[in-house]
Symmetry: C2
Subunit: 196 residues, 2 copies
């Protein structure tokens, strides 16, 4: 085996270092929020030096934006039949927490939400909503005010998500999946159907 080169520590490829920082930041930001997580903690968690975090990402805020800008994984259910989309959407949202990817999306969204006094974070949130709801829905909705209705549906889903994961409403936590999907699904269906 070749002896290690003269660098102060073991080398990794640039890509591997970047990725390690990315993953550490994602995990820490997602469960403690932007302000509570320092660059030192991210570096320690990634096994790199704190200066590298800035070197690779420019600033803590840019790192946050790059790492938390996930898409809400609802594309599949949004293409389903319109007549039962309300209930299907709620079921899908309730099931997010049982997959690793879903949990990550939900915790990232909560972190974005909590950091939304920063203008670029707010912009990121708007883009996520636009991609997840407005884009797939506006063309499909019958009746007037399609764009408004799509954004109101996004507001409803946002309300459900924040009640579940930000406020952590105990009544919603105790409720069974079926009644929750039926009740809230019906309210969303109301906006899908339109009926002007």
């Amino acid at each position: 085996m070749a002896v290690r080169p003269q660098g102060p520590a073991r080398r990794r490829s640039a890509a591997a270092t970047r990725q390690a920082i990315s993953e550490a930041a994602r995990d820490l930001f997602a469960d403690s929020g932007f302000d509570a997580v320092g660059i030192r903690a991210i570096a320690a968690h990634a096994g790199v030096d704190a200066a590298l975090v800035i070197r690779y990402f420019g600033s803590k805020e840019r790192l946050f934006l790059e790492v938390m800008a996930v898409d809400l994984p609802v594309a599949a259910v949004m293409d389903g039949p319109l007549e039962s989309l309300g209930q299907a959407l709620v079921e899908h949202v309730l099931d997010l927490s049982s997959s690793r990817a879903g949990t990550l999306a939900v915790t990232s969204l909560s972190a974005l939400f909590r950091a939304s006094e920063r203008a670029p974070v707010q912009q990121t949130l708007r883009e996520i909503i636009e991609r997840a709801f407005a884009v797939p829905l506006v063309g499909r909705l019958r009746g007037g005010d399609a764009e408004l209705r799509a954004h109101l549906i996004a507001a409803q889903i946002g309300g459900l998500l924040t009640s579940l994961h930000v406020v952590q409403d105990p009544v919603l936590g105790r409720a069974d999946r079926a009644s929750l999907a039926a009740r809230y699904g019906a309210a969303i269906q109301c906006l899908i159907d339109g009926e002007d």
Copy 2:
């Protein structure tokens, strides 16, 4: 006139000092959030010394909780007729921003939402929801799952409030009051009516 006593600065009554700190904290927290506002800034804004802020309120977090725990002023509309409560509720929420007290409630609520990774803040939010929605609604709703439905209505209003004031969705910002109240009001009415 009696000469001023030997204190290092002009005296105020304890109550007046407390109130000055309270008001400064309320304003600053409401438009910049918990983390972004330091004790020194609050003190400067109130015209007092930074040490007094801690002396009077114990800690920055206790000050935040005491000052931001407002009630959402919806009691009046919640007692209105059930058949049109959905639309009335949305109209009321949309009109909050045109009164001083309403704006204060909305910005305080936004600040609480954004600081909700702290357990006591989360608890405060739950109590606000309980008082504003569950208490006045549970007894009045006909049909099953009254408690669940009341909390889902709270989730819907929460979604509307956060879309308007936290995310600041531009589509909702541009929409006219009447269509917004009609569309979202109908969706809320759906949960009020029940129809199991």
